[in-house]
Point group: C2
Chain length 340, copies 2
DNA sequence: CAGATCAACAAAAACGTTTTTGGGAATGGG
DNA sequence: CCCATTCCCAAAAACGTTTTTGTTGATCTG
């Protein structure tokens, strides 16, 4: 059982060829007759040979390891999907992920990156757990890197972020199509791309329908349930209250639910709500279920790995790309036609 | 800048010693005078030498990589804390984590483990995202492994799981101390350790106080908000309704909140609630805040890595340990004295 | 048919460390 | 003063691959 992992030389001996030939057979390199190539392969299979990646990486300069550095994997629920998408895409490329977490501490981050470099990762995914603008740490200057849920002003780096404006437009389109004209926006107050993008989407969607932007229907608060509740209560207390609310995220939406309850408004009969995050534990648990736009965590993870792979192969279209990923609407029960 | 990463031989040349001496100086091995050891170290520092882990692992058989295989990193919110704890502990040991995800597919899992082995990980953390009994995959037979949030019947493996019974006792103690005597239990229906452990803790806590176990106060439902709401409604409709509810988890607790609302009971004035999970997005967002027992994800992650390190060093107390980790109570506002 | 080309493989070097083995100078014992 | 230790350190081998360079016999070319 523990018969000392077979190496390339055992395979060579068993197949009656040189180690060179074995290496070439398995990697597809060199010039060998198809006959020997196949024979060697099947012998290797039979001995159930598995390469030592340390050794092969040492010589070939390809470790098949992708570094994954993120700021905080823990505090954003479901952001694990980013990691999942990346990991599955990597596995498909015969690569494996080495993860490092900075906890928002640049010292820790630098140490983590240094560790990745010592292990000779082929490239690095530099990820944030929510969309933000970043400056690339100096330690990453020598190694292929793609940004995930993060953007920078550098055009020589690939990056992927959610299409914030598009997400807002999708949400708004859903409300508009249901017939709503007076739609409030419970916005966020932080200075992050999502704040600007979602508000822009809100305004654009209104403009497209020829609906005037009404500042009194727009709030900005912290992205938490309490502040969301307060903001929603203010809008619902208006004389001509909105018939629908578009919320910056699900936590604020939960606050909106509470505010609706306090105001004795029934969702979606008296008030429709749509939000962004599709944070399932919340969205599914709310009564009625919260219709929400999903952030494409999994897809961004996949994309980042695939982009990195393309750049590492640098055969063809390896020109860096900065893309915005579309965000799908997840229907539940919080949207209906406007009252009356 | 990109001056071709300096290796041990450049350091040797610069310090006027052999590569052997450099290696020994940095690793603390061999017998060298403290003088040269220090001198070499400072030269290495000056050149800002960093080892090539591929090369050192190849020869030394120590890659300093720990494999982390989990069933589903994405679907359980906040379980990323497990990864965080493990990663931070690993970093402290100069190790790095290589993660692989099985998505509950044993084929995928085997392939992932195989990849880890090819990369010559020193050991593996075999993690589940919620406490369950597992059978170790055959692929892990040759390599040091510790189980995380998972238990098996093998005594030669270290493992760490939450102390389910203790968690329940802590929750119950909190309610009992507040004066409650008639405490309902909204249990879970799945056949998992948490189901048995938490119910046992509930019963034990009652027994300790000489309170008879009343079957009519105990329910079992799916761990979701809807079923939790239904179960809670049944208990709250009892003639002699409970003054407090202990919930299997936060989702069920959220259902209990909804049921309380439907029954026009105010929390905590009319009904106290305590639960398990401390799923912050929910617990903080509920009104009033939900007092809940936290599962020690971060701590289990740390412990697993530290245990693995101890077993790898096998100098001293490397005897496998199976431990249950205590679960702390996180106070919020959902518990008060019983009414009247 | 001589020389050039090519196909198919093997030998050897290389990757950057760690480990093993070797060896000279200082120290100690008799 | 000579031999045996001990203390430092260096030379060389080793880790398991990949890459570079060689080698042989066959095929082609003019």
């Amino acid at each position: 059982m523990m018969s000392k992992r077979v190496g390339i030389r055992e395979v060579a001996a068993a197949a009656g060829v040189s180690v060179t030939t074995v290496s070439h057979s398995l990697s597809g390199g060199g010039q060998l007759s198809d006959a020997t190539r196949e024979r060697v392969k099947s012998v290797a299979e039979g001995l159930n040979y598995a390469p030592n990646r340390l050794a092969s990486g040492l010589r070939s300069k390809r470790s098949q390891i992708i570094g994954f550095v993120s700021d905080e994997i823990s505090t954003t629920p479901y952001a694990g999907n980013v990691l999942l998408g990346a990991q599955e895409a990597a596995a498909a490329n015969d690569q494996v992920l080495m993860v490092v977490n900075s906890n928002r501490n640049s010292k820790v981050e630098d140490r983590g990156i240094e560790a990745l470099l010592q292990h000779r990762v082929d490239g690095i995914i530099y990820a944030r757990m929510y969309h933000q603008a970043v400056e690339l740490p100096a330690a990453l200057s020598g190694i292929p890197t793609v940004l995930l849920d993060a953007s920078s002003d550098r055009t020589d780096l690939s990056s992927v972020v959610p299409d914030e404006e598009g997400a807002a437009r999708t949400a708004m389109a859903h409300l508009l199509q249901a017939g709503h004209r007076r739609i409030g926006y419970l916005g966020n107050i932080d200075d992050i791309p999502a704040t600007r993008g979602r508000l822009a989407g809100y305004r654009a969607a209104l403009a497209e329908q020829g609906i005037a932007y009404d500042e009194s229907l727009v709030t900005a608060s912290e992205s938490m349930t309490g502040p969301g509740r307060d903001a929603a209560s203010r809008l619902l207390a208006l004389a001509d209250r909105p018939t629908a609310l578009f919320c910056f995220n699900d936590r604020i939406a939960m606050g909106a639910y509470q505010a609706a309850h306090l105001a004795s408004l029934e969702i979606p009969r008296d008030l429709s709500i749509v939000s962004i995050d599709n944070f399932e534990v919340l969205a599914d648990a709310l009564l009625p279920g919260l219709t929400s736009i999903a952030l494409p965590h999994y897809e961004m993870g996949r994309w980042a790995i695939e982009r990195l792979a393309a750049e590492l192969a640098d055969d063809a279209d390896s020109a860096p790309q900065q893309i915005q990923m579309p965000c799908p609407l997840v229907l539940r029960q919080s949207v209906g036609p406007p009252p009356r």
